[in-house]
């Protein structure tokens, strides 16, 4: 036992020694000693030499009280030569902080005088990082949980490699310059200005709110996004939103790397309250009603008398970057519907309503309601209504490729480039079971008149009946690949035989809640618990624009006989009588009468 005691005591002693040594052996002391040695060699006068020799390593710290919360920056414990002009060619950490006239440094009597003195500003005001850290990894914020790694210098270990490569470089520090230099056209922060322009140009402002800048509500508020997120998240989320948030509805915009960089810098500069703003100023900002300050709005207003509405609308479409999402001619954002033949597909009231509130016409649309002045909407509408040149005559295959495949996909599988942004999703034309069991007339009508409440437009004015027939034949031949069935006549009433009444609605609701909510959801919005596993997705029965154009005949047929090629079963087989179905139809109709 005594031997054990002796051994364990020794181990405890050594262990404690290791821990204490670990704690008190510091790299910054070595760096300072190296600096003193070099300074001693560089010293010219004996007095200077004596003063250098008298120095011993100690923690150098700057306490900054002038900006927001107090900062304690100990960076100079390692970077001790930052203000010693003799070390401009030395290696880090003993490197002189560059002098720059652009940043306001001025040469005086053969020496530079800094505009941003370290004693006033510290280091982390511009660079971020962890001011109090005395180990490199701590001070530079390399640890993955540190919220502010050194901007543009430090990438954290959990950042994706391909993203980390993009978010390096001193340009990113402009985000911190903009904390004090808040004016929009400040020369030192060109990327922030560019990012702000892009924020409007690419339509970000339509969905996102930034206090004092924009007031969108569809996406998250970005007022403090620079404080909450790091560069890798901002970059990665712009490149592909779904990588970071699986359920994100944000589109994947096509942006050049320079544009991404500018946007990231602009967003990183959004840190809520700016350090230099007084609280009164920020209060004024929160209380003023923000109308988006579009770049060039004033010039557009000024040119109104000069330009005809159509021309002004065309210019607005360009300036507002509608083609970040939409397709118009050969410019394609790859997210939203093609506007090239809009004049043949929509009319004035539809376009105006849709501009004011997109969801009034397409209830599940992801287009934000841009709060533009009414005359701008009118101008754009006027311009779009001039787009009446039908597509040139071409073969059915080409027509499908040019007009249909953007949504329905090259292979007709309903997975075109913009399909994930459309709700309801484009029909999968390869689903033979669905396609062969529907009458031709229905498909012709869908193409000719469009499908209400969805992104399927009416092609009746762009294509003649033969062309429509040709496209439909092409679809059957290329994608369905099965002969059309000879449809049996089904016993389905043309009109709902059950008259609308409160009792009928209530009975219909009771059956609906019991039988239908698993897929269509308790709100009948198509988002029932099973809906995620079903393709095509259950119909949103609250899509009034769609429901009002569907006949009783079709509703009865769908409920009684089911829909082939979908998860909708034949409810006759499950014991629903004709009057039950009538009650359900009445109930669903009653859901869609609001607003009439």
């Amino acid at each position: 036992m005594r031997l054990a005691l002796a051994v364990v005591s020794l181990v405890v002693l050594i262990g404690s020694g290791v821990v204490v040594y670990d704690q008190f052996h510091s790299r910054w002391e070595d760096n300072q000693k190296a600096y003193f040695n070099q300074a001693l060699e560089l010293a010219k006068t004996p007095a200077e030499r004596a003063s250098v020799a008298a120095q011993t390593p100690k923690i150098e710290q700057t306490i900054v009280t002038a900006f927001g919360t107090t900062r304690i920056d100990r960076c100079e414990s390692c970077h001790i030569a930052v203000d010693d002009p003799r070390f401009t060619s030395a290696k880090q950490p003993l490197h002189t902080h560059p002098y720059s006239e652009a940043m306001g440094d001025v040469p005086k009597n053969g020496r530079w005088e800094r505009r941003h003195k370290f004693t006033d500003f510290g280091c982390t005001s511009c660079h971020d990082g962890q001011g109090r850290g005395l180990e490199k990894a701590d001070a530079h914020g390399e640890e993955e949980f540190w919220p502010d790694p050194m901007l543009g210098y430090t990438t954290q270990s959990n950042w994706k490699k391909d993203i980390a490569a993009h978010v390096q470089g001193k340009d990113y520090m402009q985000a911190n310059c903009a904390q004090c230099h808040t004016s929009k056209d400040f020369a030192g922060t060109p990327l922030v200005s560019q990012g702000r322009e892009l924020f409007f140009k690419t339509g970000c402002y339509g969905c996102h709110r930034i206090e004092g800048v924009s007031s969108g509500t569809l996406g998250p508020d970005l007022t403090e996004v620079g404080k909450e997120r790091k560069l890798d998240y901002l970059w990665g989320h712009i490149v592909n939103p779904r990588d970071y948030t699986a359920t994100s509805i944000m589109p994947k915009f096509k942006l050049s790397d320079d544009d991404k960089k500018a946007l990231v810098v602009f967003l990183k500069s959004r840190r809520g309250s700016s350090l230099s703003e007084s609280s009164v100023e920020s209060y004024r900002l929160t209380t003023t009603n923000v109308t988006p300050a579009m770049p060039g709005t004033t010039t557009l207003a000024g040119m109104a008398p000069v330009l005809a509405p159509a021309a002004r609308g065309e210019k607005l479409i360009g300036d507002l970057a509608c083609m970040s999402c939409h397709k118009l001619g050969d410019r394609d954002g790859g997210i939203s519907p093609d506007l090239s033949y809009e004049g043949l597909m929509r009319d004035q009231p539809w376009l105006m309503d849709h501009f004011r509130t997109p969801r009034s016409r397409v209830p599940d649309s992801n287009m934000p309601a841009f709060g533009l002045p009414e005359e701008d909407f009118q101008a754009i509408t006027t311009y779009l209504l001039t787009r009446t040149t039908p597509p040139p005559a071409m073969s059915a295959a080409d027509a499908y490729k040019n007009l249909c495949s953007r949504c329905h996909g090259e292979k007709g599988d309903g997975r075109g480039i913009n399909a994930i942004y459309l709700d309801p999703a484009p029909r999968d034309l390869t689903s033979a079971e669905f396609m062969v069991n529907k009458p031709d007339a229905r498909f012709v009508a869908s193409i000719h008149d469009g499908v209400g409440g969805t992104s399927m437009p009416a092609w009746g004015k762009s294509l003649n009946d033969d062309q429509i027939k040709g496209v439909l034949d092409y679809v059957y031949q290329a994608f369905v690949k099965e002969p059309r069935h000879q449809l049996k006549a089904r016993k389905v009433p043309e009109q709902n035989p059950v008259p609308q009444s409160a009792a009928s609605d209530a009975h219909g609701e009771a059956i609906f809640m019991e039988r239908c909510t698993g897929c269509h959801g308790r709100k009948a919005d198509g988002h029932g618990p099973n809906s995620l596993d079903i393709s095509p997705r259950p119909r949103n029965l609250r899509n009034a624009a769609f429901m009002q154009r569907v006949s009783d005949h079709r509703l009865f047929e769908s409920v009684e006989y089911g829909v082939e090629g979908t998860a909708m079963p034949s409810w006759m087989d499950y014991g629903l009588s004709q009057s039950d179905v009538g009650d359900i139809v009445n109930y669903i109709r009653s859901l869609n009468q609001t607003g009439k």
């Binding site: 036992m1 005594r2 054990a4 005691l5 364990v8 005591s9 181990v11 405890v12 262990g15 404690s16 290791v18 821990v19 704690q23 962890q130 109090r132 850290g133 005395l134 180990e135 701590d138 640890e143 949980f145 540190w146 919220p147």
Partner: protein
């Protein structure tokens, strides 16, 4: 003059020795009486008996598990108090303080690591200690009540660890506590109330953080310390550690008889002691009277000084070394700061409650409240039903094969549930393979 000087000089010369003697009344013992006196007169040693049986000293018998639990508690108290100098129980600052501990506080990393790992270790060791007591049949009369105190200590240990789990205010903490308190909410009638009282709110937030903090640093340690004191005191009063039957059979009933006799005698003895402190050994005789009959000194015992003391020191140092070594090489976990909108999938309770969470995934009430409640009730009632004298003081005694098997099954099932909950459960609590 010279005489006065020399006497003053002598006072000065004797000063260090006088101070030393005033603190340590006995010189290092060289005789048996001296060894007895050392144990008896020292504040820190008098909690121990003067003589201790060889059986209790054998490492293979106790494995030092009770002592290790206590020393872990001491380590936790010391490191915990030091951490309190830096910690702020505020949702806005707590996580920042964690980052500070990891980077700019001297010894911050090792302190936090030691506190965290010692806390996990204590839960495990206290449980193992309970297993040891069961498998050696040490809970049998007259030690039934001390078993109860032990069960209370186990629960207090779990609670202390659980309340501490929230304090870093990271994702791990927040969601583990959310899950843990939800399990408490399944209790019938009082569940919702208990949850509300614990959290001070409908969800985990500032109020919960403050409540858990106060429970963790004041209430629970205080109760735990008191209960530990009772636990130790009862060990002495119940006749030391449990011994195999031949020895345990005789003194056990005598203990209770003699204690009642000794109480009235104690008062005059104490009074006479203050008059004549030189006759300390008579008090020793009086107090020891009830435990060991004069002339019937227990066989196979040795003096506590130095045998027991050295053994205890070794256990203490091994515990310290173990905790320090683990803390030096492994950092205590810290995750992203709390994000109320993004629960990790799956959100898991602390590991010692993962068995519970696994059971809850089958049935909320039975898994979270019903079965654990029954298990706890059985643990409490155990010593009052299993009163046979056979097999006390021996590991896995043949006479206790039924009881030991049942308990072993209970232990294994719980460990398996914890292992499944920890390693085999992925997103949406689906079964996944960790390999």
């Amino acid at each position: 003059m010279s005489k006065e000087t020399s006497s003053r000089f002598k006072v000065l010369m004797d000063l260090p020795m006088n101070i030393w003697r005033s603190i340590f009344r006995n010189p290092l013992p060289s005789s048996d009486r001296g060894r007895a006196a050392t144990s008896f007169t020292n504040f820190f040693l008098h909690i121990q008996p003067v003589r201790v049986s060889r059986q209790a000293l054998r490492p293979s018998y106790t494995m030092g598990l009770g002592l290790i639990s206590f020393f872990l508690f001491v380590i936790l108290t010391v490191t915990g108090v030091l951490l309190m100098f830096y910690y702020v129980p505020s949702t806005g600052m707590a996580y920042d303080r964690m980052l500070d501990l990891r980077s700019s506080v001297a010894f911050g990393v090792i302190l936090r690591n030691m506190h965290r790992w010692a806390a996990h270790a204590m839960v495990a060791v206290v449980f193992l200690h309970m297993c040891r007591v069961f498998f050696t049949g040490s809970y049998k009369p007259p030690r039934e009540f001390n078993w109860l105190v032990g069960v209370a200590l186990f629960l207090l240990t779990l609670l202390s660890s659980f309340t501490g789990y929230l304090l870093p205010w990271d994702q791990l903490a927040f969601w583990a506590i959310t899950v843990g308190t939800s399990i408490a909410g399944y209790a019938p009638f009082v569940g919702k109330t208990i949850k509300f009282i614990l959290l001070g709110d409908a969800t985990v937030g500032q109020e919960a953080l403050l409540r858990f903090y106060v429970l963790h640093v004041v209430v629970l340690p205080l109760v735990l310390t008191l209960t530990v004191a009772v636990h130790f005191w009862r060990i002495r009063k119940d006749g030391g550690l449990a011994k195999p039957e031949p020895e345990a059979a005789l003194p056990a009933p005598q203990v209770e008889v003699m204690v009642t006799e000794a109480v009235p005698e104690l008062v005059p003895a104490a009074a006479s002691a203050s008059v004549a402190p030189a006759r300390k050994f008579t008090i020793q005789g009086l107090v020891r009277g009830p435990l060991v009959k004069v002339g019937k000194l227990e066989e196979d015992t040795v003096f506590s000084w130095p045998n027991l003391l050295i053994a205890e020191m070794v256990v203490l140092l091994i515990t310290v070394v173990g905790v320090m070594a683990v803390s030096y090489f492994f950092n205590a976990p810290l995750e992203q700061p709390v994000n109320v909108m993004h629960p990790p999938n799956p959100a898991k309770a602390p590991w010692y409650f993962l068995g519970l969470q696994e059971q809850v995934s089958y049935s909320a009430f039975w898994g979270g409240i019903g079965i654990p409640g029954i298990e706890l009730l059985l643990l409490i009632l155990l010593p009052y039903f299993d009163r046979g004298k056979a097999g006390v003081g021996r590991w896995f005694a043949r006479e206790r094969i039924l009881a030991n098997s049942v308990f072993l099954l209970f232990v294994i099932i719980n460990i398996i549930l914890i292992v499944i909950g920890t390693f085999f459960r992925g997103a949406n609590w689906q079964f996944v393979s960790p390999f």
